[in-house]
């Protein structure tokens, strides 16, 4: 192939058959994964969508003309134009600006759910798998119970008790989302617990916590990341749904679900007001879906099924 001729220093280092250091080996793995990922157009579409979302969130102040919150009533319900790309809403705010600012909220939800769900799932799953016996039994029963909970309804009830708001919505989602991660982590632990490198670490006198943290957790991470990306669409949709019901982020926050709810009365005559945020939600969850599909093929080929 043509690659043999263009073998530059960096490439050679990344593809060398005998890596000299752990870092090099890791970089090689990532590089090979990336090579496989790159050839998958569906996965690349997903990655591009997610990257655009992140960039929009970071550079929101630079690419918008306002904060998306200040009403301009003289300019209300304008259709799309050169100045207002997606038109304006019932208070004359530019919908494009609001969508861009809203990407921050979406990312905030994504990040918040992740940092709650992943550690809880990992800790419960690895401890259960590693300790075995009654600890395993109790923790897995608990996981099963949470697995069997109705997510949206419970989120509704929780928000009812805690009061509407973005953080409470996220908390409610997280509470009903962590259990599959515990299952994944436990399954991974069970397969590697008996492997020789763990015994070697034990023989060297490494403590349980150290073994879990240094050896077991990193190995679960691939499947957890894949699952998390695939779950993200559902999480974003649930958050938007709570927003739509008025239980998530409160107006005037430009949360996309809430934007649909406030724009709903204008559907008939100014269709763009509730439609644009709907498309934004759709595109972003589709992006995470596609990315997750691609990541699974690269990182976790053995679970390529469901």
């Amino acid at each position: 192939m043509s690659e043999t001729t263009g073998e530059t220093g960096m490439r050679a280092w990344l593809l060398s058959a005998s890596p000299q250091s752990v870092t090099q080996a890791r970089c090689q793995r990532a590089y090979l994964g990336w090579l496989a990922f790159r050839t998958n157009p569906i996965a690349m579409t997903g990655l591009i969508i997610v990257v655009v979302l992140v960039l929009a969130a970071i550079f929101a102040p630079l690419i918008t003309s306002g904060d998306g919150l200040t009403p301009a009533l003289e300019n209300r319900l304008q259709p799309a134009s050169a100045t207002n790309w997606f038109g304006t809403d019932q208070l004359g705010r530019d919908i494009y600006d609001r969508i861009v600012w809203g990407s921050r909220i979406t990312l905030y939800i994504v990040a918040l759910v992740s940092i709650i769900v992943v550690p809880i799932g990992l800790i419960i799953g690895t401890v259960a798998g590693y300790m075995g016996g009654w600890v395993d039994n109790v923790l897995m029963r608990l996981t099963d119970i949470f697995l069997a909970f109705p997510r949206l309804i419970l989120a509704l009830a929780l928000v009812a008790a805690l009061g509407p708001g973005l953080e409470n919505a996220v908390l409610a989602i997280a509470l009903t989302t962590w259990s599959p991660y515990a299952r994944i982590a436990r399954a991974e632990v069970l397969t590697i617990r008996k492997s020789e490198f763990i015994m070697a670490a034990e023989a060297q006198g490494a403590s349980t916590v150290r073994i879990l943290r240094k050896h077991v957790v990193p190995l679960c991470l691939a499947s957890v990341i894949v699952r998390l990306t695939l779950d993200m669409a559902g999480i974003i949709l649930t958050a938007a749904g709570l927003g739509f019901l008025g239980l998530g982020a409160q107006p005037p926050t430009p949360e996309w679900g809430a934007m649909i709810a406030t724009g709903r009365p204008f559907l008939l005559d100014q269709w763009w007001v509730p439609t644009v945020p709907g498309i934004a939600i759709f595109v972003v969850s589709l992006g995470f879906c596609l990315l997750g599909d691609g990541l699974r093929d690269v990182l976790d080929p053995k679970s390529a099924g469901p």
Binding site: P150, A157, F244, G246, L247, S285
Partner: protein, 350 residues
């Protein structure tokens, strides 16, 4: 193998008793877990559970009375056991909004949800399974890509938004389907409520105008709710089918000279169906609770709308009662499909 078999022998009980016993235990534990959470939401989390129920305009005497009635002066575990006892005797408290027992309300609202979720699941099953099989059989060809993309779209689209847009197009612009609600208001009260499921009630009363009107109202929300089921079922069917088609018994069937149709439907699909039972159960359960958003958009008088409306009226008993009933159905259906799976799969039966 031999050691586990020997251990079972010492207990001298057939395996199915263990299986059922284990399922029942899980069921009970899960239900206890669910009630613990609703208890926590209702009695522990609110700053003042009494105010959460009677509202902040009640007089001091009412407050005192409710405080004692709720047993809030007792220790927390005692309160929980009392709560559990009330639940098991069917007492979910009174709704402030409707001034009826919550259980009565639920009996009124639940059939509408059941109807919606059932039709949506049927749409998912009868369209999603053939789609998934078709995609797997034609792996890598255009039809496979269409099904995959369709599946991903069904996964990613917000149903409440889709419902709104669908209502605008198919009801507002084209007039093909009925509008919000279960039937046109002028049909209200023609049919006596027997099962609460209008399609059945109307058919039993021989009121076919009402029946068809109900169908025209049901079709859009159930199609939209069903699109998620369809996407999920098609996707799972495809991946199960791909897995089965690569098994060696499929080759055996081909060696016998079986036609491609027989290979797919008689051999591979029978194995897929066994796995799909769990998936269909899961879908049905999640549609029962996931119909909340669809119900809101379509003004569908179901349990989801009941819960959300109660929520905005600070009617905590109604919210938690609805949560428990939906949760119990959710748990029950999942367990049932799990048991059904064990009954259908000859390997799990033994």
């Amino acid at each position: 193998m031999t050691t586990t078999a020997a251990r079972r022998d010492t207990f001298a009980l057939p395996r199915w008793i263990w299986t059922i016993g284990n399922t029942v235990l899980t069921l009970v534990l899960t239900f206890v877990g669910l009630t613990a959470v609703t208890f926590a939401i209702g009695r522990v989390m609110p700053a003042d559970p009494v105010l959460a129920i009677i509202g902040d305009r009640a007089s001091n005497e009412v407050y005192e009375r409710v405080y004692l009635e709720m047993g809030l002066d007792r220790p927390i575990y005692e309160q929980y056991f009392r709560y559990l006892g009330e639940l098991l005797s069917g007492d979910l408290g009174m709704s402030i909004m409707t001034a009826r027992p919550v259980l009565t309300d639920i009996a009124i609202f639940f059939p509408a949800t059941l109807e919606l979720a059932t039709i949506a699941t049927l749409i998912g099953v009868f369209i999603g399974i053939p789609m998934g099989v078709l995609a797997a059989v034609n792996q890598g060809r255009w039809i496979d890509h269409v099904v995959r993309v369709f599946g991903l779209i069904g996964y990613s689209v917000p149903v409440f938004w889709l419902g709104m847009v669908g209502l605008l197009i198919f009801y507002g612009n084209l007039g093909w389907v009925g509008g919000p609600g279960r039937i046109e208001p002028y049909y209200d009260g023609i049919v006596d409520t027997v099962t609460g499921i209008i399609l059945i009630d109307a058919a039993m009363a021989d009121e076919w105008d009402v029946f068809w009107d109900a169908v025209s109202h049901l079709i859009l929300p159930s199609a939209i709710l069903g699109s998620f089921a369809l996407a999920y079922i098609a996707r799972m069917t495809r991946s199960f089918m791909l897995d089965q088609l690569s098994q060696e018994y499929v080759l055996t069937a081909r060696v016998k000279g079986a036609s491609e149709l027989a290979v797919i439907w008689k051999h591979a699909f029978r194995n897929v169906l066994v796995q799909l039972i769990t998936i269909i159960g899961l879908t049905y359960a999640s549609l029962l609770e996931g119909s909340v958003l669809t119900e809101t958009v379509f003004s569908w008088p179901g349990i989801g709308q009941y819960i959300t409306t109660s929520l905005f009226n600070a009617d905590m008993n109604a919210v938690l009662g609805g949560t428990i009933v939906v949760g119990a159905c959710f748990i029950g259906i999942n367990m049932l499909s799990d048991m059904l799976y064990k009954l259908v799969d000859p390997r799990a039966r033994a």
